[in-house]
Amino acid sequence: MQTASAQPEITAIPPGNSWMKLFGWGLFLAALAWSWGGAEMKPQALWNDADNMATFLGDFFPPDFSEWRYYFSEMVTTVQIAIWGTFLAIIFAIPFAILSSENLVPWWVCQPVRRLMDASRAINEMVFAMLFVVAVGLGPFAGVMALFIHTTGVLAKLFSEAVEAIDPGPVEGVRATGATSLQEIIFGVIPQVMPLWISYSLYRFESNVRSATVVGMVGAGGIGVILWESMRGFMFAQTCAVMIVIIVVVTALDIASQWIRKRFI
């Protein structure tokens, strides 16, 4: 047919402009080169100062476990900070996630709530920890608050992404029975997103345990305080022992939470 021959021929090579791809790669390489100077990259230092580093590393071994009971009790405090920081964050992230889901609320609710969550996510836990140490004093509570604010921002975003990916059918099914909007969410939305929400929450708990080990460095309680003190006192054998304690506990919790997560998915 006349019209068919006028159509461009379909070839095995996908259509599209290969120069755009090349340009993309060029841009990527340019970004790497541009950042090299700013980041003062000098890999040769690793070789030139190898002797110093060997001496420094030598100071770490053997690790000094003489005060292991103290380390472990502080590590328990660290985990407790993470538990409360994560728990409060989950509780607050649920309504904020609903309010920042495009498929559930109008844009004039969703956009402001999202910006608020962006803000609490943009500031690192350490910064919040420094602020809360001033506000509520030295100690674990400042750490809890720091983790809580930051994690609320993170979880609200992850939770709302799960909500925006739901199947609208079951929600309509609940709506058609004469349910209220809140009931639509409880019976139609939450059951659909529950597995993802649990998975995200457990993941954030794991990473909050890691974060909780450093908020102590600015005085917000937990094992970070010991870590910081021992480093500042050049007691590297103790630093090493503390780091081993952290590794053991964080690994154990990671394994445990992976196990729990599997139960829910």
Binding site: E172, G173, T177
Partner: protein, 277 residues
């Protein structure tokens, strides 16, 4: 007598695709079982979704009343729409059950429109409400599956659970949107028998969209046909001739052989289906 469903001058425009519904006027009386037919995209599902207010019509374009209560007027949902929705059982093509909830929990959501909001919100259902949900499940022969997850069931079973959810609402009207389009022939017949039983024995008003003409002719006394958002036919099922069907569907494939006279149906009890309530 006041019609149960009263649609006045309803129009709906979707974006630039033009009119989905065009000045629809339709009354459905109490105790009728009406089949809504038409080719894909003719607006039959859209019309049904307007009746319960899942979709809003165009501004300044008519409205819908159900059981004397306004559902929507000029593109605005009525403030008390939930009370009326509670009296309308709605059945979807894709069942729209909540997969991760159990069968009985899905059926219990049928009570949400009637019980105090705080109780429903907390998921606290009284024993009589649970008994009612079980009774509905028994009616559709699904009581054995009460504590299984909805996602474990086959399509036909899910649709029966969805009907049980609608029955738990103790509705006056049943709207069924392509209830059998996703089902195998045996499940389809079973679901249509249940709907027909609800109509005949409970005297509920049933409005069902179907794309199988023979089902519509066999189960519904009155048929309304839509084409491109307009009502082309609204009369007794027996008046539906091959000529009219060819007009409705824009084909020439209907003839006397392909369209046998509606068979006299004998209501066969579905497994576990209690006919008397």
């Amino acid at each position: 007598m006041e019609p149960v469903i009263r649609i006045r001058n309803l129009s709906k425009t979707f974006g630039k695709n033009g009119k989905a519904l065009h000045n629809i006027d339709l009354n459905v009386g109490a105790g009728e079982m009406v089949g809504l037919i038409g080719p894909s995209g003719s607006g039959k599902s859209t019309l049904l979704r307007h009746i319960t207010g899942l979709v809003r019509g165009d501004q300044n374009a008519g409205g819908v009343q159900v059981l004397g209560q306004p559902m929507q007027t000029d593109g605005r949902l009525n403030g008390n729409i939930r009370q009326t929705r509670a009296r309308i059982g709605y059945i979807f093509q894709q069942f729209n059950l909540v997969n991760r909830l159990s069968v009985i929990e899905n059926v219990l959501t049928g009570t949400l429109g009637r019980i105090p909001a705080w109780r429903g919100t907390l998921g606290y259902f009284r024993d009589d409400e649970r008994a009612l949900a079980m009774e509905s499940l028994r009616r559709v022969g699904m009581e054995r599956f009460a504590h299984q997850r909805a996602s474990c069931l086959s399509g036909g079973q899910q649709q029966r659970v969805a009907i049980a959810r609608a029955l738990t609402q103790q509705p006056d009207v049943i709207l069924a949107d392509e209830p059998i389009a996703s089902l195998d022939p045996e499940s389809a017949r079973c679901v249509m028998d249940i709907l027909s039983d609800i109509h005949q024995h409970d005297g509920k008003t049933v409005l069902v969209t179907l794309h199988q003409v023979d089902y519509a002719r066999n189960y519904c006394s009155r048929i309304v046909a839509l084409r491109q958002g307009e009502i082309l036919f609204d009369d007794k099922a027996s008046e539906l001739t091959p000529v009219l069907l060819n007009q409705i569907y824009g084909t020439t494939s209907f003839n006397e052989e392909s369209l046998p006279a509606p068979r006299q149906r004998v209501l066969r009890p579905v497994s576990g289906l209690a006919l008397a309530q």
